[in-house]
Subunit: 578 residues, 2 copies
């Protein structure tokens, strides 16, 4: 019955029918995610709540905002996207996140944590200003609830003088188990099922901010959810409400229930060969470095395992800190530890580092402190789409004074950079993709600001390539051109900052191609353009265009946007004809 | 006795002597600030607390962190910087903010709000890891206490398992009066002086996060402060404490006490002629636009008046939102309102916009929503130094897809851009300095991505100038060169994004100079370099170098760093000799 379900049909269903529908949804999600990859556990936990929301509220007139957004699969299935659900997370297909471009039922795009309460308040305020009348609902997990944005939004609820419903979906997990005092507090509330009076006293925190608190309820119990949402819908006419529910991440699929962290995101094995994961190298190498240096510490924001640091955390518990989804706080913690002579490593995905931008400038770099940023998932990162591509980091980091930026060509060189970092006394960023697909044979020792010539050409053309993906393409292009009698130089531009001024200044080639796995504006190529601005060098920058890059596999995206060997060959051929 | 005071002498003083010392400090601060400019009210309010801190704790062994940092004057006077205090905020002189480079007594540099608790936790943790033994104290105002970073730090206190003292200095003010539910809550605590039991129940919020709460005390009462700090120092051995004090902003100087907002920062009138303030134009123009368009809303983060929006807020209270020092939340509120068809303006200082970087990318631009960012204090901003220069915005904004960036050449053109913005259906940033020093006679109508030729040259040299300061220098250089028979083109590059591709493509000049009031890397000039990368144009970029720019007057800084007409003349002369 799920296949062509309308909002009207759903609202006419009996409770038994809704329960059957929920099971159908669960099956559809599971089978699709095992085929396409995606977020499994969080979506399985959300089925009943979402069915109840669609039963009680009137979408798309009412507005529903998902914090982070990866738990929206049931919502998609119930809002006319069943037919396309097989395309989930595939190139050109349905997004795994809410997308306004995709459906009227998605009113606000999300991807990074903690934005939903602010967004709900903005939408509710717009409704009030325009004299409209609908309900605004944000659904947030306890992991996101750690983020400072939530506090900022809470703090302004009374000030904004509007009504929203905030559903706090408490499953005890971010990607990793949720940490922190707010989490402990939520646990106290949840443990308190039987003692309503005590809970009411406890819940005063929320009431201080103007929310009426109602909880804790079993979010996987469909009749309870329907009843509660009906009640709350009435209350929304006069007040803002937090509905605190507990759900089981991975609900209904026992392997997921038992392994929520491992099944948070399901990745589909690719046919392309993968040599290794950069995160494994980070973990192993940092453990080794820390064994000799007691000043090494590691900080993460709720994704220790996926960054490869589970082993480090186990080995050095007193020097390891997962402080929840608080990227700004994590950055300052590192800066402050460094100000006292420690040597902190902040490991983070490229896209989430954007949250730390001001703290990178002010706390780390203006104080010139030896914090090492280990930036994982740099470059296009695939199926999560626009909000998760790591294609901006080179651009927003190159402009920061005092920062050194390294881009290893393979996992071996990454390891060398980590040993280099241990001796390096300043702010350092190392950016790398998730998967290492090959290891190059050459291996010149790391020297600050010195690049490595991989192929020597005949002095006419040089390709400056930045990072494993770019270098792989550059070498392929060199080989292809070699067969045609064109001998190009290929350089591993492993420092984006400082550039290898000496090599650049003495470069005989008039024609240069740069290639990188980042947007063009402000990135590596642009740095080279600026270096040669007052010369007569002819430069072609190959990089991602000035657009948001949608979902797709890494290979597809690099081909679609022309960040590949073909583009290099084309550029050189154009030079030949010039 | 203040002149050469040592820590030992201070600790040997009687309470009467300390009171006299406080008065001397107050006089010194007042006389210096009226001469050099600076933060007055906040520093006058902090005198007794700071004297008591120096009396009870042992600096620099103990560590003291000031949130935001502009309230550190007494601390500077008591830590060996009396002799240089006359150089406060002047070029080469003492900073108005804590600076590690300046004194061992300054352990952590601050400038932007909300970082002190995170920094204190990082320092305390470093102490624990290194097995050292000292006290860590953060002082935060109630304005900063609204920032989400504070919540993130609170949330991890138990997790980090360390002890700090947090002094919450409650004066009811940010720059503007503090707003929000946390502020209301602090008021309840403060009003409760007599009812200790009730206060203890209220204070549970802090205890949830692992802080013992102690308050509320009169922070301007020196004996009370000494007694309380002594008590708290003992408690710090076993627990973290929040000491909640109330101080009077501007204490001891009646004009300040009565006008804390106007005397938050004292600016010294400059000899240079100032035509007008961009903020006045923003306020007046937005009022006019909003009169015709009910969808216009305005959002600020705790600095409504200094952004020129006090009148707007008064005129349109239901469409105006000051949500406290919450730049990220402010940005999302705007995006969400825009997603519902409103037309929001977010006004903010350039340096503080750095906090919204991720939200500009994800919430505003990836959804392509018509939010207008009004970026005040862009370019070098003067005496506040490194943490407040607005020299990064062009670099971190040009890289963001979907964003249009406008840089008006004077207040008149700013007004035109505001009318342009009202019709513009996409993300738009307008950046401008504080003061408008001149109005140029020409005034071509605004057209998206179209520049304006101000002086037509003879086809050999072109200067592309971005913003009022740059254009002023470019015109002066053109005049000087004209006298020498060199006729250069001067262009008002009023869109940094998109560039005027048409004008650039058809530009006959081989030699180009760009000039802007921003760092070079990633800025306007770099965009031009990239545009011409595959041509044989010879380009010289004049911009701020890849360094943090210290305090100084705008004129001094532009001269010192060679962002001026002289540099243009020099560049053209070098071209002549080429």
């Amino acid at each position: 019955m799920l296949e062509n379900i309308t909002q009207a049909q759903l609202k006419a269903m009996t409770c038994d029918e809704l329960t059957a529908l929920s099971e159908e949804i669960r099956e559809k999600i599971t089978s699709t995610v095992f085929k396409n990859g995606g977020h499994l556990s969080s979506n399985l936990g959300m089925v009943e709540l979402t069915v109840a929301l669609h039963y009680v509220f009137d979408f798309p007139d009412d507005k529903l905002i998902f914090d982070v957004g990866h738990q929206c699969y049931t919502h998609k299935l119930l809002s006319g996207r069943y037919q396309n659900f097989d395309t989930l997370r595939q190139k050109g297909g349905l997004s795994g996140f809410p997308k306004r471009e995709e459906s009227l039922f998605d009113c606000y795009n999300t991807g990074h944590a903690g934005t939903s309460v602010s967004a709900a308040l903005g939408i509710a305020k717009a409704r009030d200003i325009k004299g409209e009348n609908y309900n605004v609902i944000a659904v947030i997990g306890d992991g996101s609830f750690n983020n400072g944005l939530v506090y900022e939004a809470f703090n302004s609820l009374r000030l904004l003088n509007t009504n929203i419903l905030l559903i706090l979906n408490d499953n005890g997990m971010s990607i990793a188990p949720t940490v922190g005092s707010m989490h402990e507090y939520l646990e106290i509330l949840s443990d308190d099922f039987a003692h309503n009076q005590k809970r009411e006293r406890h819940a005063k925190i929320f009431e201080r901010f103007g929310f009426k608190y109602d909880g804790v309820y079993d979010g996987n119990d469909l009749p309870v959810m329907i009843e509660k949402l009906k009640e709350v819908k009435e209350r929304l006419k006069t007040e803002s409400v937090i509905l605190h529910i507990v759900t089981k991440k991975g609900k209904g699929y026992s392997f997921c229930e038992e392994n929520p962290e491992a099944t948070h995101g399901i990745a589909i094995p690719k046919s392309e060969s993968v040599e290794s994961e950069y995160s494994d190298v980070l973990g192993a190498t940092l453990i080794d470095i820390a064994a000799k240096n007691p000043k090494i510490t590691a900080v993460t924001a709720a994704m220790t395992s996926s960054l490869g640091l589970a082993g480090f955390f186990e080995r050095y518990p007193t020097r390891s800190f997962d402080i929840g989804i608080c990227e700004e706080h994590a950055t300052i913690l590192c800066a402050a530890m460094a100000s006292c002579g420690l040597k902190p490593y902040y490991a983070v995905y490229s896209t989430f580092l954007q949250r730390s931008f001001d703290e990178i400038i002010i706390d780390i770099c203006s104080q010139n402190l030896p914090v090492t940023l280990c930036i994982d998932r740099a470059g296009v990162s695939g199926a999560d789409g626009e909000t998760h591509q790591g294609v901006f980091d080179l651009s927003f980091l190159t402009m920061v004074p005092n920062l050194t930026i390294a881009v290893p060509k393979d996992v071996d060189e990454f390891k060398k950079f980590l040993y280099f970092s241990a001796q390096f006394d300043g702010p350092l960023a190392i950016r790398y993709p998730r998967a290492g697909r090959r290891v190059f044979s050459s291996s010149a020792p790391i020297e600050l600001g010195k690049w490595e010539e991989l192929v020597s050409g005949d002095g006419k053309y040089a390709v400056l390539a930045c990072g494993e993906r770019a270098i792989t393409h550059a070498l392929a292009a060199a080989e292809e051109l070699y067969k045609k009698g064109i001998h190009i130089k290929v350089v591993n531009a492993r420092f984006v900052k400082p550039l290898d001024d000496e090599m650049l200044s003495s470069m005989p080639e008039k024609y240069i191609v740069t290639i990188e796995d980042n947007v063009k504006l402000g990135g590596f190529g642009t740095m080279v353009d600026a270096f040669f601005a007052d010369s007569d060098k002819i430069i072609k920058n190959i990089a991602f265009p000035d657009q948001f890059i949608p979902q797709g596999s890494v290979g597809e995206l690099m081909d679609d946007y022309g960040v590949n060997g073909k583009a290099i060959v084309q550029a050189i051929k154009q030079y030949e004809n010039r």
